[in-house]
Subunit: 387 residues, 2 copies
């Protein structure tokens, strides 16, 4: 185990019927709120009404900032920052999935500075303070509801960058599994894939058997993400399934799995972000394409860790580590396909001829995230494994 | 999964060489510190010196309050509260294991009220505020370093009571595994037993398969506690073993395992506390005696959960749930014995004739903790299973 600091101050309020607590929880930080959300469809399932009436009961003034899209855009965040400044917002409230929460985080940081918010993403400025943020989660996927990370796409530059800061932790996040009942099968699966990717980026970072506690934790999460996703794809209103999937997705990226692992990187995310920025590929869909190829490459250098994964998660009994590792990855890929998540660039309708360009476009993020060994050649190799 | 609120604001600083950070971390809360610790032996292994010099470098005024004993006493806490009031302490610093941290918590709460601190333990008063608390952990066991619980023994009444409050969370806890190198084999094992008891009180609370995520997490912890304890009993300065054991003991009772389980109780602790209060039995030693008997009783009503435990933790292949459950519990008891932890009242030199009295003495805590089904008869049955 490596040395670490773990400090996750987000208060989680979990369960059916908890959404109306957003009013009192948010009011504790002020009266003037900027409410960030995505599509107008949120008004159909009753969540928007539940949130706004709870805020109004607390006498709060609400300024709306809807229209966040998947692969959220810098331009939309900039508009939100302008509103927050103009309206003197005291608290930012996000109602949505990772894209909405990430946009709200960027607004919460950007509202307190005079420079452009993109500078936080390029590392030219660091975040010193943020407006308090409360969230109501509607998608089990990103984990943003309980961490200090955020991802944003630059409209013109076609870059999707991410950054992290402890001040970006939401103060309070409400996780009501019933809020995810209406998530489509495709996005339910993409969310599960995203959570598995968060786990495996970390799981595969460490050398063999150096983090036995964390390994068990991560293996248990992967098993449960697959089991609960299978349940809710079969029966979208299976409460226990939605609850397990939601909580697993939060746990996958709230710092608990990574504590003690040392420096972790996000190479799969780097490549999936490129697919998102250039082709607007849903994040989870990009990851289910990239993951098997990346895992196969990684398994060549540390087959023991991958065979442990194959044995504990998929009960692969093969005692030959490289073969067991391959079999585990094959079964994971098979599970992605079973959920309807794509497993090849072809399925994403991306021409393999584009691979060198995709690799080239991944390099700025590789540099920013200090993924030193990820040169153009290596990224191309991975992408060719996805064809 | 049941609804829950999870909010654990303790900042963990983990790893070798981190103890000198206690100065700056504590200074952030004030300049006048009350330093709570246990035996004077802490001055032999260099930890005391490391802590005090770090505090002095920050220009802090230190008032010492040493002498906390295992099964910490109310009288000693009262003396600490008097000192904290007299010296206008701004921050309480605990250097030790669970007994020291619990005493420091009681002082941090008692220093800000005029009534007797014991009223917090009997439920007659509730904690509204506390002095900030920082800790340096020297024993992997209680989990107090990252939770809001505390346990204290009433000197005259021979009662050992525990209570919890979110305000009791330490602000910062430093976990340096090397600080546990000098822990004796017996207390290393007792600590491991204590952590396993924390997990199994919760694991066995839930009905079959209702908390699949938490189950995997808890099973992984039990496996790792046993593996790391075996390692450090063989080689006390095995850093990775000490690190894993320390982190597992913290995770066992920091709220993460219990989130979503619903109402959890501490029946094993209730009985072990009686053994501690009346016979000064070390906490872990009492638990390793009580645990198998309690588990066997519980397994009769939910054999499936216990057979899951037996299968996943001990690879018990028996497909008959009651038989598998029994075998799992037998193997756990065997492991306790292997570590040198006692597994019978006889080993504790407690006469079985005393069982009715022990059961009688457990009733006040059963009432306080609302363990309604634990009448005298049931507690006697469990204790007879320990003979």
């Amino acid at each position: 185990m490596q040395n670490f600091v773990l400090h996750n101050p987000t208060k989680i309020i979990f369960g059916a019927g908890r959404i109306p607590e957003i009013g009192p929880e948010s009011r504790a930080f002020g009266r003037r709120a900027l409410l960030v959300y995505g599509k107008e469809s949120i008004k159909e399932n009753g969540i928007f009404e539940m949130v706004t009436s709870s805020l109004e009961q607390q006498g709060m003034e609400i300024v709306l900032h809807g229209g966040v899209q998947s692969n959220p855009l810098l331009s939309h965040v900039r508009a939100g920052i302008a509103k927050a400044k103009e309206e003197h917002s005291e608290v930012i409230i996000a109602v949505g999935g990772g894209s909405v929460i990430d946009s709200a985080k960027a607004i919460s940081a950007g509202a307190l500075v005079t420079h452009d918010v993109w500078k936080f993403f390029t590392g030219k400025k660091s975040i010193k303070k943020c407006l308090p943020l409360t969230t109501v989660l509607t998608l089990a996927a990103a984990g943003s509801e309980m961490n200090g990370g955020m991802v944003l796409s630059h409209d013109e530059k076609k870059l999707k960058f991410g950054t992290g800061n402890k001040r970006l932790h939401p103060a309070v996040s409400i996780l009501d599994p019933t809020a995810t009942y209406s998530v489509s099968p495709a996005y339910t699966a993409y969310g599960a894939v995203d959570a598995i990717a968060h786990i495996l980026e970390f799981y595969c970072t460490t050398s063999d058997a150096a983090t036995p506690v964390q390994d068990r934790f991560m293996e248990g999460l992967v098993i449960n993400i697959m089991e609960s996703c299978d349940k809710v794809l079969a029966q979208p209103e299976d409460y226990q399934g939605r609850a397990d999937l939601m909580w697993c997705a939060t746990l996958a990226l709230n710092g608990w799995t990574a504590a003690g692992l040392g420096l972790v990187g996000f190479p799969m995310h780097m490549i999936a972000h490129t697919l998102g920025a250039l082709h607007n590929v849903p994040h989870g869909a990009g990851l289910s394409v990239v993951m098997p190829a990346w895992l196969n490459l990684q398994a060549q250098t540390s087959p023991h860790k991958y065979s442990q994964f194959a044995r504990r998660v998929f009960q692969v009994e093969d005692t030959d580590p490289p073969r067991a590792a391959q079999e585990g990855i094959r079964r994971l890929q098979k599970w992605f396909a079973k959920t309807g998540s794509p497993t090849s660039l072809t399925e994403l309708q991306i021409d393999p001829a584009e691979i060198p360009f995709l690799a080239e476009q991944s390099l700025p993020l590789a540099a920013l995230w200090r993924l030193k060994e990820y040169n153009k050649e290596k990224i191309e190799t991975i992408l060719r494994g996805c064809a």
